[in-house]
């Protein structure tokens, strides 16, 4: 250790130890470029509103900060699971109150889940809960309530599934299952998203559309000692470059959108900013999708050739190194990730050999779709050059993101899609969430998100079987099976997995929060655990 560095470091450590528990009190200001659309947990579902919904609401279960391990939250303990893995009995924590003062009961759990299932709510999370017994009949309007949700008492509720699902507890920790009080939803008259009432560590105190949201501490929060902060102000509409200047001037404590791309290199290379930056690899994969139903791409050798032809390191340079090279579909932090997976090396010669073997010694012409926001067209060009090296002539179609999504989800339309800006990020930390929504037969349909349109019924059956392995002693075997499923997919080369995004957060000197609370793999920001130095 360098001596000049050693002393301040030691001093810093001593100070940190002396401080011990986080200080209570104080407020912070967070900045975002885009408006917050809604705080209704049944609806709002992105990087930006998710952590804010988490301020106002709680679910029965939650993750240990910074990890993918579940723990009880509004539930008093982890649920009792029946032998067949279909029935989950939750006991609620006693005396938890909504912000309106009413005690939360098992009826609220039922109401919350039925509300998400009700088509009138227009919840994007609906399909996560249709595995509950009788949910489909309720969705179709054939039943007035969901048969599989039984209230056993004021603090006990039993949920029965159609089939065992090992990811069900993850689903119960999602924002859609944040418990909401019926009377507050009714009182909001269709605008619960702007008048949210939950049990969470903070309450929404005010919301001036397009300007800012103010959250204040919930004095009756059931978790002892939380939150540390008295309040959080979320400013919206701040251009990232302006927000960065505001942080330097002390007007903002946390850049919600991260470091602005234009200043990224300058900031990360400046030692002065080092203590202000925290980063972590996201549970996300950005990829090039290869449509297995179109032209030469039908041949697995052609898809493998493309995997060998793409220079991923070059793409990482375009994004200023804000990612790690991907070897497989699954990201490293996802349970079931195979650390030994080598992926396809960058090897244009091998790519050419494979193309020749597939009957395309002179390559072929194809089309590559990308959204038109920087840096994605530049990355598409880089891929275009790499493909040209091996004889594949790709024409780039750069469109608005919504148009790319629409075209990519239409069968026999798009040979290749660069997923930048639309990359896949986990909904919950379970490999099934990287299989069913994007690579299974049921998502390889019009409007689905399986852009390679790949459908392997045998793999579906294996994944389905794995999802039925719910007891805790089967978990290792289940993850190993998912590991094999993804190895098979990697061999089929339906994607070129390019990189796993690394998220950078930038905070002010006074904000105390570590990597587990500022770049949490599921909640992104754990506001209840942040504090300020006085």
């Amino acid at each position: 250790m360098h001596r000049a560095l050693g002393l301040p470091l030691l001093l810093g450590l001593t100070l940190a130890l002396a401080q011990g528990a986080p200080q209570r009190g104080g407020t912070i200001t967070v900045s975002y470029k885009d408006d917050v659309t809604t705080l209704d947990p049944a609806i709002g579902y992105d990087y930006q509103n998710w952590p804010m919904e988490k301020m106002v609401f709680d679910a029965l279960l939650d993750y240990k900060p910074g990890s993918t391990a579940l723990e009880p939250r509004l539930a008093a303990r982890m649920p009792e699971v029946s032998r067949d893995g279909k029935t989950y009995t939750f006991t609620l924590r006693k005396g938890v109150k909504f912000h309106n003062g009413r005690v939360m009961t098992a009826d609220d759990v039922r109401y919350t889940l039925e509300r998400v299932l009700d088509p009138k709510t227009k919840s994007p999370g609906q399909s996560f809960y249709t595995g509950i017994q009788g949910a489909q009949a309720f969705v179709d309007g054939k039943a007035k309530s969901v048969k599989g949700i039984q209230v056993l008492g004021p603090d006990r509720v039993r949920i029965t599934l159609e089939a065992p699902n090992a990811a069900f507890l993850n689903i119960m920790a999602m924002n859609f299952a944040f418990i909401v009080p019926r009377e507050a939803v009714a009182a909001a008259g269709g605008d619960f998203g702007h008048k949210p009432v939950g049990t969470g560590p903070f309450k929404l105190a005010s919301w001036v559309s397009g300007q800012q949201l103010q959250f204040t501490r919930n004095p009756n929060y059931f978790m002892a000692g939380m939150p540390s902060l008295d309040g959080v102000t979320v400013k919206v509409g701040l251009d990232p470059s302006v927000a960065f200047l505001s942080l330097q001037r002390g007007e903002v404590d946390l850049l919600g959108d991260g470091i602005p791309p234009a200043q990224f290199l300058q900031v990360t290379r400046d030692p002065k900013f080092k203590p202000n930056i925290v980063s972590k690899t996201s549970v996300n994969t950005t990829y090039l999708s290869l449509n297995t139903k179109m032209g030469p791409l039908k041949d697995v050798r052609v898809r493998q050739a493309i995997n060998h032809a793409v220079n991923k390191t070059k793409i990482l340079r375009i994004i200023n190194g804000r990612g790690v090279v991907a070897q497989s579909v699954l990201p490293p932090l996802m349970p079931g990730y195979n650390k030994g997976e080598q992926g396809y090396t960058y090897d244009p010669a091998k790519a050419k050999t494979l193309l020749t073997a597939a009957g395309f010694p002179n390559g072929f012409s194809t089309t590559l779709y990308t959204n038109s926001t920087d840096p994605n067209p530049r990355i598409a060009q880089s891929i275009q050059q790499d493909l040209a090296q091996v004889g594949i002539r790709a024409q780039i179609k750069s469109l608005a993101q919504s148009s790319v999504i629409d075209a990519a989800g239409t069968p026999n339309t798009v040979p290749m899609v660069w997923s930048g800006g639309m990359a896949w990020t986990q909904d919950y930390p379970d490999p099934s969430d990287f299989y069913w929504p994007i690579l299974s037969c049921r998502s390889a349909v019009q409007g689905g998100w399986n852009w390679p349109m790949y459908c392997d019924k045998a793999l579906d059956a294996r994944a389905d079987k794995a999802d039925r392995m719910v007891s805790s002693n089967q978990q290792a075997a289940r993850l190993a099976e998912y590991g094999r499923i993804f190895a098979a997919l990697n061999k089929q080369a339906v994607w070129v997995p390019v990189f796993h995004e690394v998220r950078y957060m930038m905070k002010s000197d006074r904000l105390v929060g570590d990597v587990n609370n500022l770049v949490d793999p599921t909640h992104f920001i754990n506001y209840e655990r942040l504090s300020v130095r006085k």
């Binding site: 227009k122 399909s127 302006v242 200047l245 929504p437 994007i438 409007g447």
Partner: protein
């Protein structure tokens, strides 16, 4: 005059109708599924379909448009897909800031443009004239995004004279209004310069001078009053131009107006909000033009018989 106003109002209604049909059909033709965007990637195809039905997007174009028009007549602009609020309440909450911004920009355009225009006209061909013409050129061609960020960096961050964006009092208003108005100020200066030059060579100015009216009086009372007419028309046109400019300026400065509202709506194909703001903007623009014509009639009586 009344007949004129009535026929213009009818015309304006026609414009609004056309604007609504155009935006509605453009968005309808857009290769993007709003239901998919509302639902997000994780939603299953069934969920997307149920959202599509809930939003009425599965009905034919004519039915959707007729429904929309029916609501419009009753003053109902529908509900945002993405935010649950009604479109009219969203627009109402954003109109104030946008009008403040526009008024501020117009004030700065006039405050900067008129003196510069007179100055350039009086020093025709000499260095002040060239500076003003150069300024007009630069102001008109500088991208607003770049201009806004430069002003923020220089005047707000480096010199600490103004707040770094956000909504508030006059100090918050100045930089965004300047960004929006600077291009127009140069344009006003140019137009006023040429119309002043034209007026200054007229007989009545010569007569006024010959009568012994003080030079300041000649310029302000006689020449300017006649030369300003094109500028008044331009204010009306400017409001139309501003409707586009506010999108950029409001985004740079975090100004909570209509521009930001529609920008966010376009990102997620929130059709009711997009169409609502477009129709509202069309209304403002036609009203502004109508008003400009009426004011021109008042200033310059000759146009009344034209």
């Amino acid at each position: 005059m009344l007949r004129f106003a009535a026929s213009r109002t009818l015309q304006s209604l026609g414009v609004l109708l056309v604007a609504s049909v155009l935006t509605f059909s453009l968005i309808f033709l857009l290769p993007a599924d709003p239901a998919r965007l509302v639902a997000g990637p994780s939603a299953s195809v069934e969920t997307v379909n149920s959202i599509r039905r809930e939003l009425g997007l599965d009905r034919p174009f004519a039915v959707q448009y007729a429904g929309y028009l029916g609501g419009l007549v009753r003053g109902d602009l529908g509900r945002s897909y993405k935010q649950q609020s009604t479109v009219s309440s969203l627009i109402a909450s954003r109109v104030g800031p946008t009008f403040q911004l526009m008024l501020g920009a117009i004030a700065l355009e006039l405050l900067i443009g008129i003196p510069l225009g007179i100055w350039a006209a009086l020093r025709r061909g000499r260095w002040p004239d060239r500076i003003v013409m150069g300024f007009a050129f630069l102001g008109a061609s500088a991208p607003q995004f770049w201009l806004g960020l430069s002003l923020v960096y220089l005047l707000a961050y480096a010199l600490n004279l103004f707040p770094l964006g956000g909504y508030g009092g006059l100090s918050h208003l100045f930089l965004p209004a300047l960004t929006l108005g600077l291009g127009g100020a140069g344009w006003y200066a140019r137009v006023l310069r040429s119309s002043m030059l034209d007026v200054l060579s007229r007989d009545f100015v010569r007569t006024a001078r010959a009568k012994g009216v003080a030079p300041r009086g000649v310029i302000l009372r006689h020449a300017l009053r006649n030369a300003i007419t094109p500028v008044v028309t331009m204010i009306g046109l400017d409001i139309g131009a501003f409707m586009g400019g506010v999108v950029v300026v409001e985004s740079v400065f975090g100004w909570p107006g209509l521009g930001r509202l529609v920008w966010d709506a376009i990102r997620v194909v929130d059709i009711p909000v997009i169409v609502g703001v477009v129709i509202f903007s069309a209304l403002v623009i036609t009203l502004a033009n109508l008003l400009a014509d009426l004011v021109q009639l008042l200033i310059d009586p000759r146009t009344r018989y034209a």
